[in-house]
Symmetry: none
Subunit: 82 residues, 4 copies
DNA sequence: AACGCATAAGTAAGAC
DNA sequence: GTCTTACTTATGCGTT
């Protein structure tokens, strides 16, 4: 029964879309929360962009910690990069 | 007491930063969840980019969508695009 | 002589890196030029996003465009989107 | 004369679009050149991803050189970041 | 109100 | 061949 198959397929498609939309809503909510914290910090006299930079630096530092690659080091030495 | 003030200020700054980092972690978790749903949909035979487009279309309000379409059509006609 | 080999290798590595950096600079220059044209068009009263869409549409070959449209339409119908 | 105005407008729109397309072609050409250099370096026995990382690090270092902001430093000290 | 930036999305290339 | 990762592009947000 072709109709049945189409209907079931359509239902599953719709379900995927709605799950995605739900998750994206939650994500947008968190983005708003983050925005609020920045606003609150600003209200307390802190500079938003600088906080942003700090957060970003801490993230990068974490990433960099892993990146102690021997090959990279060798290449850097080869081209006289410290 | 100047020292006290500085310490308290520093503590508040740190608190803001940590709240932001916590929220961003949760946000990243949701982003990963969304990615998983797309993968699952793909596994079920659906086309990811098309689902993405649907989700994006549903987000836009109708008026805006119609307006954008009209402008695009006008530009296409102006340059002789079909 | 091991030292000689290492030096030559290092020199070639450095040369590759510098060629890449030079090319990337030129590329960045062109990106800036493109941005300028968009700004100029906007100043003349045209809508940037719509121009962007036109450029992108002209890039895609027709077959692909038709195919994507058909899939999108099918999904929209499946979930009862107009 | 309304018709005249429309024609002139359409011509200018088309001109902007074609300028953008021309610049994007050149940009794509440079991207291809860069790819070629990576391929050549790989053929000479160097590791592509590592070169990529070097190039990226040198770019970041340049950016960072400018970034000696007093406020940033103050914030970092406040939260005990080195 | 516009400008630039920063994040987010989409796409394409490379690795396993 | 799939899967992840990096790059490019696009949109929205904060700032001036």
């Amino acid at each position: 029964m072709e109709q049945h198959h189409d209907t079931a397929t359509a239902a599953r498609l719709k379900s995927y879309i709605e799950r995605i939309e739900r998750l994206e809503e939650e994500k947008a909510g968190l983005a708003a929360d983050i925005k609020d914290v920045y606003a609150e910090a600003k209200g307390a006299g802190f500079d938003g962009p600088t906080i942003r930079k700090i957060v970003s630096l801490r993230k990068k530092d974490d990433a960099k910690r892993v990146e102690e690659d021997a090959l990279l080091k060798a290449y850097k030495e080869a081209i006289g990069m410290v």
